[in-house]
Amino acid sequence: MDKKVKLSKANTNSEETVKKVKPPKRNSKRFRKLKFKSGLFIAPSFLGVMTFFLIPFCVIIYYSVLDNPISANYVGFENFKNVAKNEAFMTAVKNTATFSAIAVPLAVVLSLILAMVLDLNIPFRSQFRTFFLSPMMVPVASIVLIWQVLFHNNGAVNDVIMKFGVDRIDWFKSDQAIIVIVILFLWKNLGYNMILFMAALASIPKDILEVARLESATPLQTFFYVKTRYLSSTVLFVTIMSLISSFKIFREIYLLTTDYPYPTLYMLQHYMNNKFKKLDYQALSAGAIMMSIVMVLIIGLLFIVEERFGKDVEG
């Protein structure tokens, strides 16, 4: 008992000492120093991003209100109206949104399942992990080659499904085309997401899981009431990462389908690419700005949610 008292006393003492050092008051000298010095660390990156990304982005905004870059007449929101009325643009928006709405949640859920499967201490665990990460190694071009071989009208996948008595599908030229792309996306990204989830699962305190077990919680209860609390911030992180990769997958889609693919595969990036080739900068800029506004909304929402949940877990 004595020991306990001593221990707790020692604890409070150390807490006090920590508190003495800890909070640099706002506007105190130390606080301003910290602000300035850590600001210096950001400076190189910020300067670079300014020159190569932010200023160019301002140029884009400038272009978006001109009739064309050479005569440079101010036309206000005319470009935005034209782009929004454009059928190709709307199809592209619809397709991109559909793709992301299908692919991102699937990527999150499936990678979580994979991580939990590997978390069961199955044999050859580290080998499996490497296998799941392996798609990241394949060069984009050979992914495209292989996907063409697999999903060609006479390709391997059609061979298999025909054996089950299903009619062959011309994958790249039908409404099922989006499935091919979603599979490609999942194949490429599940591995890394899975690693992130595995790390998060490993970081759940073991004693809490033990308590749940002793309280005879079913695995489902443990998952929903205990694990999800600790996973929530990782879920959001993985969501953002998947969203980023869902925009990067365009390179593969483009190489697979070239400029004018089947209508359901016509993505926002196809639209931008085509405008870029036609040197139609004002449409490109207007489209880009509208896209970035939507992005700001989505990412902002995710950040706000993360702020809430992240704090919830720590507290």
């Binding site: 490497t130 296998f131 392996s134 080659l145 194949w187 690693i195 790390a199 969203l243 926002l268």
Partner: protein, 339 residues
């Protein structure tokens, strides 16, 4: 697990002995035996369930693993096929029309994992007969190496700054980084082209290097991990008299080793596969990396493509083999610190 159960039984026994001393002594043996039997049975059942669970999980994992590995195996095994074999297997997929685009003709495609005859002809063409491929490979190395190295330096610095202190301005800057990161290439390419021509670095490697080095992706990733470093560690260092630079150098960098490795791998893969930037920013075809060549393969070179792709995969493989342990352990360790 077993320890816990034993403890439970033991404590029950002690309790039992303590409360009811002598009367039920003959029954004690019996009950213990029953307990033990039940215990054994329960353990066996649990073991059985666990076995089933693990084997189902293994089957699932193996199924996915085969699906995931297939394209790589296919690439590597097909790189050992002679071009005639490739042509007879996949000829239909990549038949070209007059425009040079790919057109599908309805004929059978054979998916083949094992070549009829192992041939190194593709490799000898790539490696010895024409210097073009090696030159492009070297271009890739020159383009990607500095980007990965300097992007990480810039990004670790910046993410330290973001993680150390977050005010309103910094939150806005960080947010704009995330948005910029999500912009498709086509959007940033026009302005990038303009900036490069202002700085007069068009058609030089700098036009690829500089935007690459300052790309916000690694900053986003690393800030996430640096924020998890416990405040107490930084305070401890401060009490020991460390300045900001030393905290960054001696605490943040070593602790984020895993995250930095994973960022390096992701950045490397991203730029190793770049296609659009060199096409637009480097007019001189001789400076193009191998990835650009790989993306423009037409019918006659499909066989070569597999060999080139395999060679192109080697550096990624090395990066992976070297970095994977760091990647996994590093992230896990970070989580451990937090929990």
């Amino acid at each position: 697990m077993e320890d816990f159960r034993k403890k439970d039984v033991l404590s029950e026994e002690i309790l039992y002995l303590g409360t009811e001393p002598k009367k039920k002594k003959p029954q004690k043996n019996y009950s213990q035996e029953v307990l033990r039997k039940m215990d054994k049975r329960a353990a066996r059942a649990r073991k059985f369930f666990r076995f089933i669970k693990v084997s189902i999980a293994t089957v699932i994992a193996a199924f996915f693993a085969i699906l995931f590995l297939m394209p790589i195996v296919l690439t590597i095994s097909n790189s050992f096929m002679a071009s005639s074999e490739i042509a007879s297997n996949y000829g239909t997929v990549f038949a070209t029309n007059s425009n040079g685009g790919k057109v599908y003709i309805s004929e059978k495609v054979n998916l083949k994992f094992i070549p009829d005859m192992v041939s190194f002809s593709q490799y000898s063409t790539v490696l010895f007969k024409s210097p073009e491929y090696l030159l492009k490979f070297w271009n890739s190395v020159i383009l990607v190496g500095p980007i990965v190295l300097f992007q990480l330096i810039v990004a670790t610095l910046a993410s330290y700054g973001f993680a150390r202190y977050t005010g309103k301005i910094r939150a806005i800057i960080f947010f704009s980084y995330v948005i910029l990161m999500l912009m498709p290439y086509q959007v940033t390419l026009v302005p990038n082209y303009l900036v490069s021509s202002w700085l007069k670095i068009l058609d030089t490697y700098w036009a690829i290097w500089l935007p690459g080095i300052f790309s916000p992706f690694a900053v986003f990733l690393l800030t996430k991990f640096m924020k998890r470093i416990p405040e107490s560690m930084i305070e401890a260092a401060q009490i020991d008299g460390a300045g900001e630079w030393q905290i960054y150098r001696r605490i943040c960098l070593p602790l984020c080793k895993g995250a930095i490795c994973s960022a390096a791998i992701l950045v490397f893969i991203d730029y190793w596969n770049m296609v659009e930037q060199p096409l637009i920013l480097l007019a001189d075809g001789e400076k193009h990396p191998l990835s650009v060549f790989l993306s423009k393969i037409n019918s006659g070179e499909v066989g070569l493509a597999f060999a080139v792709a395999t060679i192109y995969m080697v550096p990624t493989l090395l990066v992976f083999l070297y970095g994977e342990e760091y990647l996994v352990d590093g992230i896990t360790y970070q989580g451990g610190v937090k929990g």
